[in-house]
Symmetry: D3
Subunit: 135 residues, 6 copies
Amino acid sequence: MPTVLPPDDLESDPRIKAVFDDIRATRKTDFINNIWRYLAFDADLLERTWEEVKAVMATPSELDPLTKEMLYLAVSIINNCTYCVHSHTAGAKAKGMTKTQHAEVLKIVALASKTNQLSTALQVPVDPEFLLQEK
Amino acid sequence: MPTVLPPDDLESDPRIKAVFDDIRATRKTDFINNIWRYLAFDADLLERTWEEVKAVMATPSELDPLTKEMLYLAVSIINNCTYCVHSHTAGAKAKGMTKTQHAEVLKIVALASKTNQLSTALQVPVDPEFLLQEK
Amino acid sequence: MPTVLPPDDLESDPRIKAVFDDIRATRKTDFINNIWRYLAFDADLLERTWEEVKAVMATPSELDPLTKEMLYLAVSIINNCTYCVHSHTAGAKAKGMTKTQHAEVLKIVALASKTNQLSTALQVPVDPEFLLQEK
Amino acid sequence: MPTVLPPDDLESDPRIKAVFDDIRATRKTDFINNIWRYLAFDADLLERTWEEVKAVMATPSELDPLTKEMLYLAVSIINNCTYCVHSHTAGAKAKGMTKTQHAEVLKIVALASKTNQLSTALQVPVDPEFLLQEK
Amino acid sequence: MPTVLPPDDLESDPRIKAVFDDIRATRKTDFINNIWRYLAFDADLLERTWEEVKAVMATPSELDPLTKEMLYLAVSIINNCTYCVHSHTAGAKAKGMTKTQHAEVLKIVALASKTNQLSTALQVPVDPEFLLQEK
Amino acid sequence: MPTVLPPDDLESDPRIKAVFDDIRATRKTDFINNIWRYLAFDADLLERTWEEVKAVMATPSELDPLTKEMLYLAVSIINNCTYCVHSHTAGAKAKGMTKTQHAEVLKIVALASKTNQLSTALQVPVDPEFLLQEK
């Protein structure tokens, strides 16, 4: 159950309608998933969040769209966001993630979490080889 | 400062030497970074951790080595592991991560953390469209 | 579903009844929310937790009650506690949090999480200006 | 030690100089703290991050500047960001946080973390009273 | 709702059947809990995870089985894994955890989280007495 | 570097002296480790924290002192508290934790973190067998 309720007539607010129209145009679909409906409880929060998602995730860049989705999914797992794990698993599959690649992402997330905790437990000193030379 | 101390003569233990030799052979380098030296305080922990890192990260698979390193880095940032942030930033650069790709990884990590927290704060319900059909 | 079950007749235990009576008197309401019912599986845990909540949250202090609730909510979001996000969103609203203030709390939580991760990813050195002078 | 190195002549890049000038003008100080210097390794990341910090933290709003800094500090503690704990403790003090208020923030952060974990451990069901009525 | 679906006829895959048979034999029960059914979406992930769980948790060692389950539970609470909190609370009870011991685990988890956050907030320097002498 | 500075003459404050005296008497040592010196920036915070640590950790209970320290250490690792990882590794060793037990704690922490993340990634449904029957 959500902690805020979006109004029934969300798109009667022109700021919200403009964002939803841009989501539909950018993604070439009529589907507006729930995060956008709930963020719309504050038009400014909706506008800023979509603007950033569009710039980072929906604009061609050096990383391909599937790699970006898998990175988003990995972060969402560690941050333990149920909604985001579902939406970005679906998103990565929509961008072509195979069952084997899905399993690979999970193996890396699991292994990294394991060695992250071991490094913290041991307080392993950073190798000088990894450090940049200050100028 | 670490919480355990590796002995000076680590490689006099044949189990440890075997792992270190395999690290050197697999990575084609003489450099053994600190995580392995400190994990060596328990030979079983060292063997199992290396076996898994080798299988997941150093064996050809559907994901390319750079993508795997960037995923590992993203997880290490969220888990807040200082050692791992340094080692996997260096690792990703060694596998070809450009400055622009590095910035992209950071933008995705930052954006995902932001929307993860917003989804949690709003307790956004998962869209039925994202759910799998149970058979 | 909970991992412990409170007995039906919770208040037949005088230690539990005393805490519940104090909650009702302090909050001027008959409503005892679930966290207290489930903590009652161990009377000592219930007593100590309520004593601390009462001292920190329900005793006049330099911070006003709404600011305290918003801080509690922000922590609960980052710690990803579903129950606490719901109870402290409701609590902050009961203490007067407006829709705009709610959105502001979420913007700060989201922005802080973003810059927290960027600082960790970059391992930004602390400016000497921020450090206290040891005496 | 950082994972990227800002160039010596940061402000020879007009995009970076524009952001730094705006930070100085907005904050009415010549001091540019390190997070901005290191974010400058990518001009886009610098511009976007400052734009958001300025809008959320340095623009008058319903929450007063001290409350906003204390919320930022609370989140930074839970996210375990060393740099941010230092910079936002200093920031809150600069905005008037007293020693007693500082201790109060810490007591709330500590108490919330405690009850967050207890709620998770007990999987306490959300009270129907806390749930919004779907329309 | 899960993000992957195990096939109906899981055990028609001989690799999966072998793991399930070993789980049944090791635990002396016909009950295969859900984590294993879902991990079976990738036979390699299933095999490796079970192999590690068997070695660490189901093999006699210096720590007794109940202590190991309580440690697993404590970690699962902090990592906020709903499934794991349920399965390891049940597991610890099955290995003899009393109601009082359960409450004790929760008190330690809650107290440690509290002092962990206080130490981070204060950036308490590590006492030289706690540091090992490098050889 | 800490974010608060304890005064030089901490024990000239009778409330602080009383706590420090009780720490020394309870632990049968003159050594007061840093967390107590820094918590002393607020006498109330110091008194309450010590009172809880004494009750939970330094009072005979159903769990033995070493098990309690290992649980505290496991939580501190996951919460990524550098100070606490050092102090509770030292504490567990002082209570008799062997090198093998230390390695076992780390193996459980690492394995649990791994399966916690896998369960979250897969959103594994809780088995009905693990759920308590509501009365």
